[in-house]
């Protein structure tokens, strides 16, 4: 099949349909409303469900209800909307439901702005909602990767019975790129009779299923949360994804960057290479689980003097990078927020000045 040119938001909607998800609930918010506009036409064509809810709060529970009775369902929103959904996301994580949430990030806090941002790193990887839970978080760096991650998100959510978040940004949503929908990423949903409240007749059982997150007995809740933790540990073993870039070179500085920002970094790295300067990069594709070992190893490489986390925020992922580098060399942050995406030239400038600043650092080999 040839490539087609599609806007990120529309491609995301189509990818979900191709992945076999025929239920979509959402509330409009810039810069992702095109997903809803696309699916409002597309879902009826495939016999699916499209519903515009009364609020993001309600939408997160429509997803709960739909996924809780065994359907594949997803929603899309942008930062302020995800804040409103965070209550539902916590309940969904607590009830171990395989829902998919897509955040086309815009600037914050508050009403913030509508331009691309990566300000929701903490929100998506560290919680957002209340309680002891994690989302699996995937961060696409382009429209094609967004398509693939959306298609992968449903089986991954089902594998862990845990919500999956795709963390994009306004650029991914608004940009058009040539794409294909890989057939091999189409999956059949697994049988959910063991836990779904899909009606006893549906599964020919006389035992009711209960989908819940309440465990009043402290021992029970402790056990439940340890079970959740075991899932997160398993994610760390089995589903860490990242892309190394120019990592076999003799770099003195290592970039860690994801999503839209990492694309710009790639261009900067290519440009610096032409100027005879080597820079390595680890691009986390999953932000949770985080590529801890890959970053540690890359930072530990002989000759690496400094690691820089480059983000469209004022420094969120940098805390995870520091945690992974574990003192092997200094960790710095560079970035911009508010909707301005740093240019390759700005990144090159920052990289040079950081190298100068850390000229005294001898790096990992000592």
């Amino acid at each position: 099949m040839g490539k087609i040119l599609m806007k990120g938001n529309e491609a995301i909607g189509e990818a979900a349909v191709r992945a076999g998800c025929l239920s979509y609930f959402a509330y409009p918010i810039t810069p992702q409303s095109e997903v809803s506009e696309y699916l409002a036409r597309r879902m009826p064509e495939v016999g699916g469900v499209f519903l515009q809810g009364e609020s993001e709060v309600a939408v997160s529970y429509m997803i709960f209800g739909a996924v809780g009775c065994g359907a594949r369902a997803f929603t899309t929103s942008s930062s302020p909307g995800i804040s409103l959904m965070s209550e539902g996301i916590s309940y969904i994580a607590g009830a171990e439901l395989p829902a998919v949430f897509i955040n086309i990030q815009r600037g914050g806090p508050g009403l913030g702005g509508i331009l691309p941002s990566q300000g929701d790193y903490f929100q998506s990887t560290k919680g957002g909602g209340h309680g002891d839970y994690h989302l699996m978080v995937m961060a696409p760096a382009g429209v094609q990767e967004a398509v693939e991650m959306v298609m992968m998100a449903f089986p991954l959510a089902e594998k862990y019975r845990n919500p999956v978040m795709i963390l994009g940004d306004g650029l991914i949503g608004q940009m058009m790129e040539p794409i294909t929908f890989p057939d091999h990423l189409r999956t059949e949903p697994p049988n959910k009779d063991e836990w779904a409240s899909n009606g006893m007749d549906t599964r020919k059982s006389s035992k009711p299923n209960l989908v819940k997150s309440l465990f009043l007995d402290p021992k029970e809740l402790n056990a439940h949360n340890l079970l959740l933790k075991a899932k997160y540990e398993r994610m760390k073993k089995e589903d860490v994804r990242y892309e190394p870039y120019n990592i076999d070179s003799d770099y003195q500085i290592l970039i860690v960057s994801y999503g839209t920002m990492s694309r710009v970094c790639k261009t900067a790295i290519d440009n610096m290479k032409e100027d005879g300067m080597e820079v390595g990069m680890i691009r986390p594709q999953t932000l949770f689980p985080f590529p801890e070992a890959a970053i540690h190893d890359a930072a530990s490489k002989a000759g690496c003097r400094v690691v820089v986390s480059i983000e469209m925020s004022v420094g969120q992922m940098v805390e995870d990078v520091e945690r992974c580098v574990r003192g092997k060399c200094p960790v710095e942050w560079y970035g911009k927020c508010g909707g301005e995406v740093p240019t390759p030239e700005e990144i090159a400038g920052a990289v040079r000045s950081l190298l100068e600043k850390n000229a005294g650092s001898f790096g990992a080999k000592y």
Partner: protein, 180 residues
Amino acid sequence: MQNEAIFAGFGGQGILLSGKILAQAAMVQGLEVAWVPSYGPEMRGGTAYCMVVISDRPIGSPIIKNPRHLVAMNLPSLEKFAPLVKPRGVVLINSSLISIRAGRNDVDEMVIPVTDIAKDLGNVKVANIVALAAFVARSRIVDFDLLREAVTGEFARKGNLLALNMEALDRGKDAALRFR
């Protein structure tokens, strides 16, 4: 080799569509392409622009500070983007709505009364296709036949608009070939 073009003008001038058609033609030509719009409250009447990046290699940053080319459909667009264009790039000025020039002697300035040509064709809305055709004819950023194919694809299911836009395409190309 990477090329970039900014299409800029009023909201409602079909700016985003021009860029999309160019991107479509480039994709069919087998090139890598990214189309990045401005978006926000200026849906109608405000300033609108889009950037089309075309490359023979995977595109890293789609955010371009200094694009190769500019198609300026109104005055604010020219004032905003002309200083950013790389030397030797094409700067198309819609002289129907812009009375000044780019103020650069290192770019390939092409002055065409795009809106008047469209009015002459009977529909001001095809100004975007007139400009797109003139720009492609001048810059050769994509194969013109593939551009024709892309325009056909865009309007094939829109009834009588197809013939009008094909006419706009030819008039734009002619205007570019006749310029200077």
